[in-house]
């Protein structure tokens, strides 16, 4: 169907999409956990910072966030020169895509984890507290492990969305699958529909793998005699 050059483009596009998705998934979950923990802080300033972060990233279009990160913030990032002539910014377009998309999905993850945390009974936290656990230990060993079980279905959905949103990195010329596909069908208009079909199929497979691993994780976390 494709000649080797085009095949290479598709493969490198898929690989970039996988890398992009992987880093975004991890980083957005980390942001979600840290944010949800910080939301339980006694400090009003910390709580309002987290709240402001969520409001901004949840209520504005992710595509505009991406462009803003890359073009506006990108201007101010320091550069380095490997050869004395070239000025390469320390954060590449791939870097900005990862940061921007992770913060976007992370805002939802904070809310998702918060809902799980709120489902943990106060009496369970009190039991930990009365055994001498610190606030962090209570979170780390009691609240979070229980919250994650409640949060998993919503987290699942958000991560699927995130994976699909990585196509927007196309807008700042990250050579992921969509970007590569577009370059192909710009050169070969006749290949447009087959290539689109290919993009669909690849995404169905990638999301399928994600869903399968999330389900496996969910099963592993299931507690005998607890919940369903």
């Amino acid at each position: 169907m494709y000649e080797p050059v085009q095949q290479g483009k598709i493969l490198s596009g898929i690989w970039m999409t996988i890398k992009l998705s992987f880093y975004c998934l991890i980083l957005s979950v980390v942001i979600g956990i840290v944010g949800a923990f910080a939301q339980g802080s006694k400090n009003v300033i910390i709580r309002s910072l987290v709240q402001g972060y969520i409001q901004f990233f949840r209520n504005t279009p992710p595509y505009v966030q991406l462009l803003f990160f890359y073009f506006a913030l990108g201007q101010f990032t320091p550069t380095y020169s490997p050869d004395g002539w070239l000025e390469i910014p320390i954060i590449s377009n791939v870097g900005w895509a990862i940061i921007s998309l992770s913060f976007f999905a992370g805002a939802f993850n904070v809310e998702i984890f918060r809902a799980g945390i709120e489902a943990v009974a106060d009496s369970t936290k009190e039991a930990a507290e009365s055994l001498g656990f610190s606030r962090f230990q209570t979170f780390r060993y009691v609240v979070f492990p229980l919250a994650i079980r409640v949060s998993l279905p919503s987290l699942n959905n958000n991560l699927i969305n995130l994976m699909k949103t990585t196509t927007q990195a196309y807008g700042i010329a990250v050579p992921e699958l969509l970007y590569q596909s577009v370059t192909i069908w710009n050169d070969y208009p006749s290949a447009q529909y087959p290539t689109m079909l290919l993009v669909f199929v690849v995404y169905i497979l990638l999301v399928g793998v994600l869903v399968m691993s999330m389900n496996r994780w969910e099963r592993k976390l299931r507690i005998p005699g607890y919940g369903h």
Partner: protein
């Protein structure tokens, strides 16, 4: 019962506690000596839970003083950890960690909070499971245990911290009648070994048998108190009499 020293280890003096406008404790005082077992009884809403939660600083108080093993609980610079190492607490709803096995529930606090060696703690946890008569259930999750079994794991979990005082807040109130006894037996064993115990309970037979001293609270004050013998037969206050007539 066992030999009692005169060392006061919990001293509560004129404690006042409000939730917003609602004054729940209106000047409560009591002393507990080492090895003593005291029972707090009284109608629901009279402030019993609030009182014992103040002892391990789960609630703060507005006035008065509380000392536990020489620790000033009302000190603004209170090291809560030091207090909680000394005071074990068992709740009505057991409050076990549902994602941990019985043994892990018992081991968690000593390893995390006291940084004790895991193997030492494991040995102790097995011994405690035996003590609360649950050998063989070490790897069961709370959801796989009956209420009475869960409550005994909760007692073992508190004991694993080697506390000086144990607080029990209506620990049999949520149990089926047939499992109440197994939990009461466990507590009785503890009492007989000389553990200082403060219990909120509705089990009058148990209180009569095990307690050294009984306090009756109503509406945020201690109305009457005394050793079980005199308390149950010679109550003077009309409120105590009415309560006892309803419950006995």
């Amino acid at each position: 019962m066992t030999s009692k020293t005169t060392e006061v280890i919990v001293s509560i003096k004129d404690v006042h506690k409000s939730f917003g406008d609602l004054e729940v404790l209106k000047g409560v005082s009591l002393d507990v000596r080492k090895g003593e077992v005291i029972c707090i009884i009284g109608p629901s809403g009279s402030g019993k839970s609030t009182l014992i939660r103040c002892i391990n600083a789960l609630n703060d108080i507005q006035a008065g003083t509380i000392h536990v093993c020489g620790i000033d609980v009302t000190d603004p610079k209170l090291q809560k950890l030091e207090l909680r190492k000394r005071v074990g607490m068992v709740f009505q709803q057991y409050n076990l960690f549902p994602h941990k096995t019985a043994l892990e529930n018992i081991m968690m606090a000593p390893t995390l909070v006291l940084n004790e060696d895991k193997e030492t703690v494991r040995t102790r946890a097995f011994a405690l499971m035996q003590k609360v008569r649950l050998e063989g259930k070490e790897n069961a999750y709370p959801g796989e245990l009956s209420g009475g079994q869960q409550q005994r794991v909760a007692i073992a979990r508190s004991l694993a911290m080697n506390p000086d005082v144990m607080l029990f807040d209506e620990v049999t109130a949520a149990l089926d009648p047939e499992t109440v006894k197994e939990v009461l037996v466990t507590i009785k064993d503890l009492a007989q070994e000389g553990m200082t115990c403060i219990l909120v309970t509705h089990e009058m037979g148990f209180a009569r048998e095990v307690a050294d001293h009984i306090y009756f609270t109503d509406n945020g004050v201690i109305v009457e108190h005394g050793p079980p013998k005199t308390f149950f037969t010679k109550a003077k206050d009309p409120r105590t009499k009415e309560f006892l007539s309803q419950i006995l």
